[in-house]
């Protein structure tokens, strides 16, 4: 809940990462800020630590040296060393961060920290020279930036005031007025479309796609430059019918500059275990290049020549 903040740069929010040299989040070389918290819960999410708004304990077992310090400092007694294995009772853990602070091996970390706009901007501006040479800038992603509306708005305003190109990577799942309120500060919107069928969308992400598609139409109607991102998840949203529906829908928009088909990959799988979650898509194999190319051809058949496989 936003309280009155006198200066844009004093706004605070929760982020879980700032990635420099992000080259797949918009044009040029960018810095991507990942905001924590998302109303969706996609089965394939590559940033599971961004879904919950609350800080979470991340445990990377390979780094643990078994020093036992966390056992001692944890007020909830959530850590155990059993038969040489380090176990965490997630029910007990309150993500207070005491164990992470003292874990010098870097095995325990807290995902999610409070920052001010000023702090974020200071880091973003470090790569200013590269934004200038590459036509890059700052991208807000996550999680869902619109879920921290005033923080997102302040970040975008502050970046823009510094002459930095801004991109917003969003699911579009929020009241229209939130998107509308940002239009003046966003140079480019990266918009995900996960499934055209409402029921399938609900099963895959936990929410309906009606508002998402509606917002997309309105963004387009407002003249906002848009890049569409289509995650390609084999067996979940890659069927022909979905792509034909996508083709029809997108062909009716006027300001879609690029369409990226993003092939599912498994690099994020270990993150789930590290936050104590079960990975929903066990054993799913990434799509082949041919499969991705065939999806692209369907979209091409609707005149969407700006489609690439990312």
């Amino acid at each position: 809940m936003a309280h009155h903040v006198s200066r844009i740069t004093d706004h605070t929010g929760t982020i879980f990462d700032i990635e420099r040299f992000a080259i797949h989040d918009g044009p040029g070389i960018r810095t991507t800020v990942f905001l924590k918290g998302c109303p969706l819960h996609c089965l394939w999410c590559h940033n599971p630590e961004g879904i919950s708004r609350q800080p979470q304990l991340v445990f990377t077992p390979l780094r643990c040296i078994g020093c036992g310090h966390c056992l001692v400092v944890c007020p909830q007694g959530a850590h155990q060393l059993l038969d040489g294995r380090h176990l965490i009772d997630r029910e007990r853990c309150r993500a207070c961060g005491a164990c992470a602070e003292g874990c010098y091996a870097g095995a325990l970390e807290l995902a999610g920290r409070q920052v001010t706009v000023a702090e974020v901007l200071e880091e973003v501006l470090r790569d200013r020279a590269f934004y200038e040479t590459s036509g890059g800038g700052m991208t807000l992603s996550g999680g869902e930036p619109l879920a921290q509306y005033s923080f997102t708005r302040a970040l975008l305003q502050a970046a823009q005031a510094e002459g930095v190109h801004t991109a917003l990577d969003t699911s579009g799942f929020a009241p229209w007025r939130r998107l509308e309120g940002l239009l003046g500060y966003v140079d480019l919107v990266l918009y995900d479309v996960k499934h055209m069928d409402c029921e399938r969308h609900m099963a895959l992400t936990g929410v309906s796609n009606e508002r998402i598609l509606d917002n997309l139409r309105r963004l387009d109607g407002a003249g906002q430059p848009i890049w569409i991102r289509i995650p390609l998840i084999p067996g979940q949203n890659d069927e022909d019918a979905n792509y034909h529906a996508l083709g029809q829908f997108l062909a009716g928009l006027k300001h879609v500059e690029r369409i990226e088909i993003l092939r599912y990959h498994r690099l994020a799988e270990s993150k789930y275990a590290n936050i104590g979650w079960v990975y929903p898509l066990q054993g799913l194999k990434p799509p082949t290049e041919e499969r991705a190319e065939s999806r692209r051809r369907i979209l091409l058949s609707y005149g969407l020549s700006q489609t690439i496989v990312g």
């Binding site: 010098y104 970390e109 590269f130």
Partner: protein, 743 residues
Amino acid sequence: METVVGELTYQQRLEALHALKLEQAREKREVIGPRDADEQGLILPPPEVREVVEAISGSGEVVRDVIIKTFKPKSNHPSGGFFGPKATGENFRRLLEVHPTYIQPLNSMAGVYMVNFNSYRQPGWNPDFDYSHLHEEQQKYKLVHGIGGLQHFCPDLTIGLELGWGGLLEKVRHYREVNPQAADFYDGLEEVILGIQGWIHRHAEEARRMGETEERPQLRKNLETIADVCERLVTDPPQTFREACQWLVFFQAAAKMYNGSGEWGQLDELLRPYYERDTAAGLLTDEEAIFHIACLLLSETAYIQLGGPDAEGHDLTSPASFLVLEAIHRLKIPANIAIRVGDDLGPHLFRRGVEILFEDRIGFPKFLGDQSVNEGFIKNGYPLELARQRIYSGCHWLAIPGREYTLNDIVKIDFAAVFDVALREMMADATVTPGVEELWRRFEKHLRRAVEVIAEGLDFHLEHMHEVFPELYLDLFCYGPVEKGLDATHGGVEYYNLCCDGSSLATVADSFVALEQRVEREGRLSWQEMMYYLETDWAGPEGERARLMMRNLPRFGSGGSRADEWAVRISQTFTRLVKQNPTPQGFNMIPGLFSWAKVVDFGKALGATPNGRYAYAPVSHGPNPDPGFNNGKGGTPTQMAVAVAAVQPGYGNTAPLQLDLDPGLVRSEEGVAKIEALLQGYFDMGGTLVNINVLNKEQILEAHKDPSKYPDLIVRVTGFSAYFANLSEELRQVVVDRMVAGE
């Protein structure tokens, strides 16, 4: 391999020559063992005359080497060694007289070197020239002091291309009359030239003989041409493109043989006039030109700059620049080629360079920022026109061809060794309370002293080197030495700008910040406990925890951190100390940050350090952040670039950024543009040079386990390029650690 009726295409010939090169590299590895240095054109002498010995390399390292055992130099000194220009020249000529010829019928170029003349120089330094008054401090700070350092400056090959060996001989004989007092010097020069002429002539004879018995018409013709070309080059300057390439092959083979020298410099400009003339006359196709360049590049991994400005700032990029790139692109062997990048300089060459970097993945080309090196060099008091002529001609360095003596990349001050002295001194001083500022005060004091000792050593070198092992060979391709009768090391050339590099910046910056944060501010360790952990090399679970605690901090590279501030402070202090005074004899020194391959050796000489480094482990490289600085993860390219740009000494010598990039970064034209933008942004921030590897992580890990599985895997180690399989295990580990930090 060949058909009975048809001729081989250039591509087929190159493929066969490439396979031969790999075989020769493998043989070298077997006989000499691992070698932590540039891949070289050297091939092994025939088995019946070869012998493996321990020797000192051109950079002052103890190395294993192969000599021709039938050659024994003549001594002119009680120590058994030979010193001074006359004895040096005579012995070099005698070596050339027994040095085998090398002609490969598929290759359009003849000649390769097989031994290092320097390996016969035992002892290397004339003991009559005593600098024992410097020993104590040189050893105290573990300085690589540069006394006796060889070459590492750039010749102007237009001199040789215009005069030919006959013209050079005439020139030497002419100036001998002008400077009778330098008779020994001119004796040495003449012996060198006569030796080379004889060697080239033997190639002509051998090629003629081989041609007479060669049955395959294509190869017979090639051998006959080789014979004709070599015969002409004994005395005459090259006239054709092929002859120019052949002249450069012989030049380089003999240069490497003499004392390890390895630069062609602005190769595209050297070849351009011949290329233009021959193509205009219909005598040369691009395909043939590429083939000859490829054969030239096969003969040696010499240092080359492509593109760049002339003295007035006009772009030197020409079609020849692209031909050189294309030749290596087809050959795919180790190469040390830098593209000079700037506003008014060939954008297409830059673009093509990045494309090739990601396509071939052999760590070439590297990229040099024109504006930043020019602006830096000017600060030494030189005009922009001169700065522009300073050409990339070594691992991390530049020099003005024929006119500047630099002794680049030899002198090294290991900041970590100086830090260690300061720390121990402070802890042994009972009158003082240990503290970070106190430590800094002592570090600066010792660093100042180290620079002074280096400066004295350089004066000593410049005073006596000409009487020990003069630069006779490169003297021929300079302005001044022949004319004045003075060796390049002793006043023969116009400009003296001696390179003084610092190394292990991250190790020290991270050590300062770890002490400041964990010991001084947080009080988690006392100074005594800290020293205990260093002495015991972090032994035991307590020690390991302490070690990780010292490492688990925002380190140099993370950006905006105290460690970044410390790194800048160290670099700026070092720069000031090097620049504030010339050497006692008045020679200018220019600071840089680079470790060459010494990260392993410096590390072995040093115990544990407060940044959490284990005893005897490698130290950090040059100006680069330590791998894993990003909270245990690898640093992003922009973080690295911003960090290294901030610590540039800024006087025209480089502090190279070492990037190891994943091939997946560039999958399209767009990706290439982003890498260009990355490099350009780095140069805009004052960065000077970028060395890049594009390597697949999995492959490098596999190759490290069993190098023989990837005999043609080439890596940019630091400034130089080598077959991964030919490096020592420790240096391979350093490369691997960079790539897999945090995993």
